[in-house]
């Protein structure tokens, strides 16, 4: 059975190779090839999953070693895969949601002449993402890690003729590279500490080293996670990444790739468990991002950017949970999976809306769309209820558990702080999602003809797009409940992530009740602000906070002034230095010799008698020197 693991990666990789190298002759069939291979990978995943279910919990992990990758004295990196319950969860999520989004894209990208290439990139992404989650060592994980970064770069910048898309793609890659730096330093630290970077040996020998080293490794892993999962302070790329086609936003920037940081932290659980300081850092990053993303989400009028803020915030929840240790890992992953369903569904819904509205993204120009696109409305609405944590739906089960766990972080003040932040986040989530919902689907129509007189004619999207949305809506509704039945999800992951029951500082029913109250408050406030009176088509000036939030809380401005401008000045002055100083020293030496020889040339005046004088003088000096030497 374990020989099938490689197939998971091989199928989409083959697709990418065929589609990208195949050339124009595959334009007609390319999208089918891509979709087929994604589904094939999903089928392999399901096959492996059923096989895994048939075994008892302790013997489910599979291992497949392919070949020795970088054999150097003292340094062994192998291409080997490990498929345990954690990886399996991701494999199913990635291939499942991935296949759905391939299908959706067939319709969404129908009119794009470069559709074949789009599918090639999507397949490349799937391969890299699968490699990331089934690698059995950190270095191979790193390959997948950067591979998804590449796919993300290519897909964000898919419409390269738009300068904004090209810039956003570059920005995403660069910010991620900063995170990647963290990952590579972490791997180097592991190598010098443990002599290896395979998951098994590293995580088993955590006890053999000091806490200082582990904290350092943990912080570096956190840096990596911050980059990939758009956590503060490396979150700035995610909003811009919405320049990519919407299926990409759904798959990469909502359901799968951005959650890789959560995977990394959960996978390295043993390291974090032994380094409480690193854990605290993780929790702080998660809590800050959770609020940060939520505030940004409240102010955006671009539907995709509002959802991007929400993604950031939800991943903040997962990171927070992952930082809590064994009480949180399972819930982090559970929220990750349910989030994968409802956020992908929301993005696909947004894509469907844009498809019907001539690619308009400004929610102020929507309004009342429920009449025109009923299927989109219903699926989007179910996703909405799931994300705000409406009791009974997926988000409720997973988010509520995270809030509980956050309250259980510590007996004292920490539990209250982080629990409170998580609770507050739930309220803001309800607020901004209700805002999105109302502005898009309720109220009066607010769209107008554009300059060339084209008025949008909102219509329901084709079947290839609505079916994936419906499937995801089912997931948004039922997945959470299913996972929580008998704590089945927690038990499934327990052999990998360990599990301890959280003991919150206040009782569990009280937490659940206050969560529901907070979300009703948030949703009610949004209704009061946006549902009761018509939404203005041009955005009002807004408060200071609103204006800052529209600009991503000024982080881009900070980056621009400090990093971009500063960097430009630095490089410019260095170019100058290279030309004048470094080169100047050499040219100066040359000029010095030139000047000296110019002077010396004047001695050569052509008068025979002056030559004679120098000869006599020279001879006299020589003789004098000889005599002196004799005398001494």
């Amino acid at each position: 059975m374990e020989n099938l693991i490689a197939l998971l990666v091989a199928a989409p990789l083959l697709g990418a190779a065929v589609l990208l190298c195949g050339g124009r002759r595959l334009d007609r069939t390319g999208h089918w090839i891509g979709t087929l291979l994604a589904v094939a990978s999903f089928a392999v995943g399901v096959l492996l999953f059923t096989d895994m279910l048939g075994k008892d919990a302790e013997h489910r992990a599979l291992h497949q070693a392919l070949f020795s990758w970088i054999p150097v004295e003292g340094f062994q990196a192998d291409v080997a895969f490990q498929l345990d319950q954690l990886s399996m969860t991701f494999v199913l999520l990635i291939t499942g949601v991935g296949s759905l989004i391939h299908i959706y894209s067939i319709g969404y990208m129908e009119h794009d002449e470069r559709r074949r290439r789009f599918f090639g990139y999507l397949n490349l992404f799937l391969a890299a993402m699968l490699l990331l989650v089934i690698a059995d060592n950190y270095l191979l994980l790193y390959v997948g890690w950067e591979g998804v970064g590449l796919a993300s770069y290519l897909l964000i910048g898919f419409w390269q003729h738009k300068p904004s898309a090209a810039t956003a793609a570059k920005k995403a890659f660069l910010v991620n590279r900063v995170g990647d730096m963290g990952l590579s330093i972490a791997i180097m630290l592991m190598f010098t500490t443990f002599g290896t970077f395979a998951f098994g040996p590293v995580l088993e020998s955590v006890g053999d080293t000091g806490e200082g080293k582990l904290t350092a490794i943990g912080l570096m892993l956190l840096l990596a996670a911050c980059g990939k999962s758009a956590q503060v302070p490396l979150q700035s790329w995610l909003g811009d990444a919405m320049e990519g086609p919407t299926p990409v936003s759904a798959l990469i920037h909502a359901a799968t790739m951005v959650t890789a940081g959560v995977y990394l932290i959960t996978r390295s659980g043993a390291i974090f468990n032994a380094a409480p300081d690193a854990q605290l850092a993780v929790v702080i990053v998660g809590a800050v991002t959770l609020i940060f993303g939520a505030i940004v989400g409240c102010a955006k009028d671009d539907i995709k950017k509002a959802l991007a803020g929400s993604t950031m915030s939800q991943i903040g929840y997962m990171i927070l949970a992952a930082g809590l240790g064994p009480i949180g890992y399972a819930f982090a992953i559970m929220h990750l999976v349910t989030h994968g369903f409802f956020k992908a569904g929301l993005f696909l819904g947004a894509g469907s809306v844009m498809h019907g509205m001539n690619d308009e993204v400004d929610m102020r120009k929507y309004g009342g769309l429920r009449k025109y696109m009923p299927v989109t409305f219903v699926t989007f609405g179910l996703g909405y209820l799931a994300i705000i944590g409406f009791p009974g739906l997926s988000g409720f089960w997973s988010k509520d558990k995270i809030i509980e766990a956050a309250f259980a972080y510590d007996d004292g003040i920490r539990g209250w702080i982080f629990g409170g932040v998580a609770l507050l986040g739930a309220g803001i989530t309800a607020f901004y999602m209700t805002r999105v919902m109302i502005m898009t689907f309720f109220g009066e129509k607010r769209w107008q003809p554009d300059e060339s007189g084209n008025e949008p004619h909102p219509h329901e999207s084709p079947k290839s797009m609505t079916i994936p949305m419906i499937v995801l809506a089912f997931g948004s509704v039922f997945a959470g409940g299913l996972f929580s039945l008998n704590e089945s999800f927690v038990k499934w992951l327990e052999p990998v992530t360990q599990f301890e029951h959280p003991h919150p500082v206040i009782s569990v029913p009280a937490i659940t009740a206050s969560t529901v109250v907070v979300l009703l408050l948030g949703a009610g406030l949004a209704y009061l602000m946006y549902g009761r009176k018509p939404v203005p088509v041009t955005a009002p000036r807004g408060s200071l906070l609103t204006r800052a939030a529209r600009r991503d809380l000024l982080q881009d401005d900070f980056n621009h002034v400090v990093l971009v401008r500063g960097g430009e000045h630095l490089t410019r002055s260095l170019v100058y230095v290279d030309h004048t100083v470094v080169d100047g020293v050499v040219n100066g030496t040359a000029a010095g010799f030139g000047g000296l020889s110019g002077r010396l040339r004047k001695l050569q005046n052509g008068f025979a008698r002056s030559y004679a004088v120098s000869m006599f003088g020279g001879t006299a000096i020589l003789i004098a020197a000889t005599l002196l030497m004799r005398a001494v």
Partner: protein, 99 residues
């Protein structure tokens, strides 16, 4: 008479010759001064030969004479052709040795 006196004489002759080379402009005179210096050298060679009691110095003196004769032939020819083209025998007029 001590052979050392010959050395004093040679030094004197050499000094006269050297001064002549340095201060006179007429090429013929410069030339004669050079001959004077050569002969001063010959004199020292012969004197040393006498002092040390072997003949090496005298043999070299013969060589010097031959070389001096050959030099005179070439040198005078150059001076004559210079004089023909420039109507002057001053060495400072012939400052063509630089680029």
């Amino acid at each position: 008479m001590s052979p050392v006196n010959y050395l004093y004489l040679a030094a004197l002759l050499f000094a006269i010759g050297a001064t002549g080379v340095l201060i006179r402009r007429n090429a013929i005179v410069v030339f004669m001064c050079i001959e004077l210096m050569l002969n001063a050298c010959n004199l020292t060679l012969v004197a040393f030969s006498r002092m040390h009691g072997n003949l090496d110095g005298q043999i070299i003196a013969f060589f010097t004479m031959v070389v001096a004769a050959a030099e005179v032939v070439v040198g005078l020819a150059i001076i004559v052709s210079l004089f023909r083209s420039r109507h002057s025998a001053s060495v400072d007029d012939a400052s063509l040795m630089k680029l």
